[in-house]
C-alpha cells in the first residue's frame, strides 16, 4: 500500500470507510491529505460514513516501550505519540474544532452551518480500548491489515486481503464485533468519557475501560460509599437526578463514586467525592480552594474495640469550625477495614426512558464522615448547603434521617413491594448488612457531641 493508491481507493469509495488504528497513517491525518479527501467525499455523498478508531493512552504507552530496542527508526516516545494523538482528537479534552474533524470542516468551504453537526454523524472518532493487535483499513468491501509487531507500523506495512481468503472473514467478524454496541462496541469510548480501571474477580487490575463496559458480572470496578452524618447522628441521603440514566430518581447513600485512575488510595476518592458531589457539584477537586468549606481530616480506623475514645469530642477541639471528620470503619472483629464486594443491580434508562435492570460488580470501601457543627444539623441548614447540587441537577433531593427512621422506611416499602422503585440496591444492602455500623456510628456521634446542645 502507498498513499497514492490509498487516496484512489478513498476517492472511489461508495459508502463507508473504517480505520482501526491511526498511527501508521498519522502523517496523512495531519498534513491535510485525508481532511481534503474526506471533505470531497462528504460534499459528493452526504450519507458517506467514516469511522476512525484511534489508539488508547495505554496502548500508546505500551507501544512506546519498544523504543529502547536500539532500532529507533519507526519508534517514538510516549510524549511524542501522545502529542500526535492529542493533535488528532483535539487536545486532552477533544474539542471538535481543534481535532481532525476541524481540519475537514475547514476544507468544506460552503457556508452551510449545519456541517458542524452533520460531520459528527458522518465521521465518528472512537478510542479503541481493547487490546489492539492489528491495524485495519476497510473501504466498502475491501480490506487491508497491518500487524502490530513492534511499535507503530507504516503505510507500507498494510497488506491487502482477498475476499476469498479465510482471513478476510476473520477480519470482517473482528470489525463486526468491534463496531457492535452490544459486543465489542461497549469497550469503545468518546474522548470525554470517564475511564475506569477494570479488576478481575481476584481483584487484580487488568486495564482501563469506559463505564458502559462494566455491565457484566465477569469483572469488577472499585468505588467508595460515603456515609455523611450530622452532629445529631442523622444520615444524609440523596435522591438521584431525574436526568441520570443509571438508577434514576432512587434514594441513595450520601455520596459515592468510582476510584479515579490516579487515586492510589480510596481515602483520596472519599475526600474528592464528598467535595464534588455534595459541596461543589460543579467544581473540579483540584480547584477546590474555598476556605469556608474547611478541610476533611482523616481520623483513620473507626473501631469501637480499639478506639474507645471516651473523650473523642476533645480530639476535635482543634479543628476549625468548618472542618470535616472522616473515618474508615473496620469490620466487627476490629482489624480489617470494611470492604464490600457484591453484584449490584442497576436500573438503566435508554434514550426513550425505557428501564431495564442490569447487573454489575463493585468492590466498595466504606467511609464515614461527621459534618461540621451547624452545617446540616437542621433540615434548613442542610437544604441550604445542597442547593447548588440540586439546582445543577446533580441530585434531585436530599433528606436527613435517623437510622431508625431510615430502616423503618425501607422495611415498610419492602412490605408494600415498592422498595426497588424507591431505593438503590446498594442502600437496601447497607441497611440490611451494615445496620450495626449505621446504628453504632450514629450513637457514637450522638454521644461524642451531646454536650453541644
Amino acid at each position: 500500500m502507498d498513499i497514492n493508491s490509498l487516496s484512489r481507493f478513498i476517492q472511489e469509495a461508495k459508502e463507508k470507510i473504517i480505520f482501526l488504528g491511526i498511527f501508521p497513517l498519522i502523517s496523512y491525518f495531519e498534513n491535510g491529505k485525508f481532511a481534503k479527501l474526506f471533505a470531497d467525499k462528504l460534499r459528493e455523498n452526504p450519507s458517506f460514513k467514516i469511522d476512525i478508531l484511534y489508539e488508547s493512552g495505554t496502548e500508546v504507552f505500551n507501544q512506546s516501550l519498544f523504543i529502547n530496542s536500539g532500532n529507533n527508526e519507526d519508534l517514538y516516545s510516549f510524549n511524542v505519540l501522545k502529542f500526535h494523538k492529542n493533535y488528532f482528537v483535539g487536545g486532552e479534552y477533544g474539542k471538535t474544532k481543534s481535532s481532525f474533524l476541524g481540519d475537514i470542516l475547514r476544507n468544506i468551504d460552503d457556508d452551510n452551518i449545519n456541517w458542524i453537526n452533520k460531520i459528527e454523524k458522518n465521521i465518528r472518532l472512537f478510542q479503541f480500548n481493547l487490546r489492539q493487535s492489528i491495524n485495519i483499513i476497510k473501504i466498502d468491501s475491501k480490506i487491508w491489515y497491518a500487524p502490530i509487531v513492534m511499535g507503530t507500523s507504516k503505510i507500507t506495512s498494510y497488506i491487502s486481503v482477498d475476499s476469498k481468503e479465510p482471513l478476510y472473514n476473520e477480519l470482517v467478524d473482528y470489525l463486526i464485533f468491534v463496531m457492535d454496541k452490544e459486543k465489542g462496541g461497549k469497550f469503545l469510548s468518546r474522548h470525554d468519557e470517564e475511564m475506569i480501571e477494570i479488576y478481575d474477580l481476584d481483584d487484580y487490575p487488568r486495564g482501563i475501560y469506559p463505564r458502559d463496559a462494566f455491565l457484566s458480572t465477569d469483572y469488577q470496578r472499585y468505588s467508595i460509599w460515603g456515609l455523611v452524618f450530622n452532629r445529631n447522628g442523622e444520615l444524609l441521603l440523596h435522591q438521584r437526578s431525574k436526568n441520570t440514566k443509571d438508577n434514576r430518581l432512587l434514594w441513595d447513600k450520601s455520596t459515592g463514586g468510582h476510584v479515579d485512575l490516579r487515586e492510589i488510595s480510596t481515602s483520596l476518592t472519599a475526600k474528592r467525592e464528598l467535595i464534588e458531589e455534595l459541596l461543589l457539584p460543579e467544581a473540579e477537586y483540584t480547584n477546590y480552594v474555598r476556605p469556608d468549606l474547611g478541610d476533611i481530616i482523616d481520623f483513620g480506623d473507626w473501631s469501637i474495640e480499639k478506639r474507645i475514645e471516651r473523650n473523642f469530642r476533645l480530639s476535635t477541639d482543634s479543628l476549625s469550625d468548618t472542618d470535616w471528620i472522616m473515618f474508615r470503619p473496620t469490620e466487627k472483629n476490629g482489624f480489617l477495614p470494611v470492604r464490600v464486594k457484591r453484584v449490584s443491580q442497576r436500573q438503566l434508562y435508554n434514550k426513550d426512558s425505557v428501564m431495564s435492570v442490569h447487573e454489575t460488580r463493585f468492590i466498595s470501601d466504606i467511609y464515614l464522615y461527621i459534618a461540621p457543627e451547624g452545617f446540616m444539623d437542621t433540615y434548613e441548614q442542610m437544604k441550604d448547603k445542597v442547593k447548588a447540587a440540586e439546582k445543577t441537577g446533580a441530585a434531585e433531593d436530599h433528606k436527613l434521617l435517623s437510622i431508625r427512621d431510615l430502616c423503618n422506611w425501607i422495611n415498610h416499602e419492602k412490605r408494600e413491594g415498592r422498595a426497588k422503585t424507591l431505593f438503590t440496591d446498594d442502600l437496601i444492602y447497607i441497611c440490611n448488612e451494615y445496620h450495626w455500623l449505621l446504628e453504632e456510628f450514629a450513637e457514637f456521634v450522638k454521644l461524642a457531641f451531646k454536650n453541644e446542645k
Binding site: V149, G300, N311
Partner: protein
Amino acid sequence: MKGKVRTMTYFDLIKNSKKGLPKETLIIVGVNPIINDLIRAPQVIANLLRVEPNLKITIIYENETENFNQSLFYDKMLSREKTEFDRLQTYRNRLIGGKKARNKHSSGFIEDVLKECSDEADRIDFKRRLILLQNNLRHNINIIKADEQIWYSFNGVDLPTIDDYQEIELKELPIYKQIVNYLDFLLNPSSGGIYLSSPGDELIQLYDRMDYPRGIYPRKAFYSTEYQRYSVWSLIFNRSGEILLHKRSDYTADNRSLWDKSSGGHIDLRDSSTIITAKRELVEELFLPEAEFTKYMKAEIGDIIDFGEWNIEKRQEKYLKGELDGLDDIDWAVFRATDAETGDPLTIKRKSERIMHFKDMNSDGTVKKDEKGNPIFKEETEKWKTRFISDVFLFIAPEGFSKEQMLLAEQKGAASQHRFMSVSELIQDVIYDNPQVYTDDMVYICNELKWLLVQFSEFIRFIFE
C-alpha cells in the same frame, strides 16, 4: 468464523515445511493458540532437543492481563471457541506449574519435558536449552520461528488455530524484518528482556509520569526514569521516640548492605490503599517475612490501628493522647504523615539513585558462589536511577518493643541488621558523619523530612513520657 476444524499441530506445521525441523533456534511467542498441543506432548519438545544438540527452544507465554484482555473479545455469536479468562488462566497454570509457580526453574511444562530425560546430564543440558518466559509487553502477534522460517498469526474475535498461522515466504517482505527485529529486541536481556519475567517473579503496576496506571511489569523494568512505581515509606518509632533502621541484605543487588528506613515496599497489585500496603509490609518485613499478611496471627503481635492523618495543626497532641488510650499493650499505632504547609497527605515523588551490584559469573553462565552457597558479587558497582512515588507512614511500636524482636527477619535474610537511633543521632550520622552507608532515600528523608522526624519523635515523647 465459527465451526472451523483444526487439521494439524504446531509440530506438523514445522515438520511439513520446506526447511523441516530447526537445528539452532525454535522460538514460540504466544502459546494460547497452540497450548493444548504443546502441553499434551512434552515428548515432542524433548525429542527436538535430543535430536539437535545445538537447538535452543524459547517459549514466551502470555501474561495474565493479556489473557484477561483476550477474553474480552469472546462473543458467543462470532467466536468458535469459548476463551473465557478462567480457561486461559488454566492453560497458563498448566504451562508454568500453578498460579504461583513456586519452583520457577522446574515446574509445569518444563518439568514434564525433563521427565523425558534418561539421565542427569541430559536434564542439565535440556534445562539450559529450554527457556520459558512471560511476556509483559503488549502481545500483539503470535510467532513461531524455526531457524530462518517464520509463521505468524494474530488474535481476532477468538484464538487462531495453527491453520491460521501464515508463513512468510520471502525474507524481503517488511514483516519478516519487523519480526526478526522484534525477537532480537525481546531476547536481548538489556532491551526488551527487561519486560520478560520468569514464572513466580514479582510484578508491579507501572505509572506514567502523569500518574496513570499503564500495566504490570517485573521489577527489573523499573530502572528507567521514563515512568514510575508506587511504594510506601514506613518510619517506625519506639515509645522513647527513637527511629528504627534496617540494613539491607548483603546478597541483594540493589543498594546492598546500606542502612535504610524502617520498612517499605511496593504497592501490591491488589492493595486498594497504601495504608493496606503499609500494614502488610510491617507484618511481613518485621515479623513474618515468609507469611501471608491475611493469615498472620494477630494474637502474637497485636493489631495495627490506623489513627489517620498526623496533622498537629488540626489534631493537637494533648487530645491525640486521649485517642491512643484505647490501645492494648501489644498494639501498634500508625499515622499518615501530612505536608507541613498544605495539610495534605504526604506523598514524595522523586528519582531515587540505587547502587547496583552485579553477580560474578562463571564461564558457563552460572553464578559464582561462596562456600555457604551465597552468590559472589563483583567489586565494581553502577549507579542506576528509578522513579518512585511514596506515601509516608509513621508507626508507633508497642511498649517494650526492641530490635531483638526482628531477629526472625534477620535470620530469613530479609534484612541483615536492625537498630534504633535517636533522631538527632541519625541526622548527625546521615548528613555529616557517614552518608555513604545510607540509601539515597534515607539521605533524602534526613534532609527534606527532618522536620517530620523531629516533630513526630517529640510528639511520641510528649505522649508517652
